[in-house]
Symmetry: C2
Subunit: 312 residues, 2 copies
């Protein structure tokens, strides 16, 4: 198969764009503000050789959908650039199935891309729409805001620790945590629902403390977080005292961390109930700078590495 056959066979579907796959550019128009983002997943850095291609296809779109969610944008289009060592049809079939099904699930049309030979890497460019004045920006946190987290934190980090033989999970626990690592759920509906309720969000990809710190820096504010309030799965709960770093600094959760004024507290709770997503109030935005995490006794916890950083 040439790259043209690969694209035609696996990655071409009808779309509502003015012009989709198959020209020098794709064309679309929008009356709204356009939101764009890109994430690249590279073998051995973001996933392991031999990882399930179906889940990799899904995840490569999910992590980009997560950026849309963190902005409160409705995803519309995607471009997929993929570098492959060989044109392995079984791999391509599974990968494209995972990618395209997730695209359909979230109303995203694949309208372009690039296919090339090289070490395995997947780079997705995602395009969405929003009302600019309702965007969930990193600089939108205000002193007095409450800090919220969706879902639960640390499961993906536990899976990594398990894969790296740092801990030994039971089969059932491992299955659950590996699911969180390989198949994160992008919080697109939550991001959309927070329009007008929250002004500030980020998705937790590098680690809770690192990502909340991005909000604090951009918003020029401080935060106090209660460690005990950080939401955990049953599995992670068992490791809460021994592997706090998974909760505080584990990457790949793809949950949303957002802020909202206390008057919006009930609105936030209603959204969580309506969407069936656990939403936990974990702290407060204050004037000043820096992040303080308090343990159950109210003592400041030492946070070593705030989160994942390439080249650190």
């Amino acid at each position: 198969m040439t790259e043209f056959e690969i694209i035609a066979h696996y990655f071409t579907r009808p779309s509502d764009a003015l012009l989709g796959v198959g020209d020098d550019c794709a064309l679309f128009s929008s009356k709204k503000t356009i939101a764009v983002s890109t994430d690249m997943l590279v073998e051995k850095t973001h996933f392991f050789p031999g990882d399930d291609p179906f889940l990799l296809g899904r995840k490569s779109l999910s992590v980009n959908l997560s950026d849309m969610a963190a902005m409160g944008a409705r995803p519309r289009y995607a471009l997929l650039a993929i570098s492959l060592p060989v044109a392995d049809e079984a791999w391509l079939q599974a990968f494209s199935k995972g990618f395209m099904a997730q695209a359909e699930r979230y109303g995203v049309a694949l309208i372009g891309g690039d296919t090339t030979r090289g070490p395995l890497a997947v780079c997705v460019h995602i395009i969405g729409e929003l009302d600019a004045e309702l965007a969930l920006r990193r600089d939108g946190a205000k002193p007095g805001d409450e800090i919220w987290v969706s879902g639960h934190l640390g499961d993906a980090a536990l899976a990594l620790a398990h894969l790296n033989d740092e801990i030994r999970l039971t089969d059932e626990e491992a299955e659950f945590c590996l699911g969180a690592l390989h198949d994160p759920v992008p919080r697109v509906e939550l991001g959309l629902a927070l329009s007008g309720i929250s002004r500030c969000a980020i998705d937790i990809s590098d680690g809770f403390c690192a990502d909340l710190s991005h909000i604090l820096e951009k918003s020029i504010v401080a935060a106090v977080v209660e460690y005990a309030a950080l939401p955990c799965s049953e599995t992670m709960e068992k490791y809460r005292s021994t592997r706090a770093s998974a909760i505080l600094s584990g990457g790949d959760d793809y949950e949303l961390c957002f802020t909202a004024s206390p008057e919006k507290s009930n609105d936030v709770r209603s959204i969580g109930e309506r969407l069936g997503i656990r939403l936990s109030k974990v702290g407060k935005i204050r004037e000043g700078s820096g992040l303080v995490v308090l343990d159950e006794a109210g003592r400041e916890m030492k946070i070593g590495n705030k989160g994942y950083a390439h080249f650190s």
Copy 2:
């Protein structure tokens, strides 16, 4: 340096976007039709280890600008995803200098991206604007149209043949051809000028015959091309009879191949004169299907491999 420091130091500039580098998404708005495209350059596939990072930075944007040119779009924004084995500051400085200077030259604002550890690869997403009804689409060729080519063909392929020890160029010839390979000039101004004159263009990245064939397939037409009319540099002219494949199937030229009705012939010539770009009439669009290239005696030439294809 962490990726955050790399981004802040090398890849952050003010822009006219509503929101640029540093949030989950970048935001912009446009009253026009949006054109998007992506190209990924991978070490050992698209460039050699040790290639000049300044030129690689420039080329990684140029090949994407070339897609804008081929659509007749005005480039506006770019996102840059880059995978690096190490955070080599000298390399990053040179690469970003090449990339950012080219961005400035063409009025492109870098508004987002991703930086990760991995084998060297650069994936650029480019975003531009146009009037949809004036787009230079691959399906826009009509029987009777004349076929034009900008600049000259085959120099990049000669450079590759030289690097692969298939031919031996003089130092001066090698310098010229390597310039074409490593530093292609995107024909953005030409693409814009062709609005309303041409309805159909493609950029020659895979090879003249391969790329013209994309037009023929999408437009459901045939073409007859005169080999002697295909434009060559002085250097390539010396190899016209011995290395026809460089002209017909050599990739990486990044010239435009476009069609226009014969009544527009003088308009096309005027554009070439105004922009100082050689524009050559090389053939005709006919009814039917397939591409015929005639030699100087009017005999049909055998075209083996029409152009570069990954995985072929």
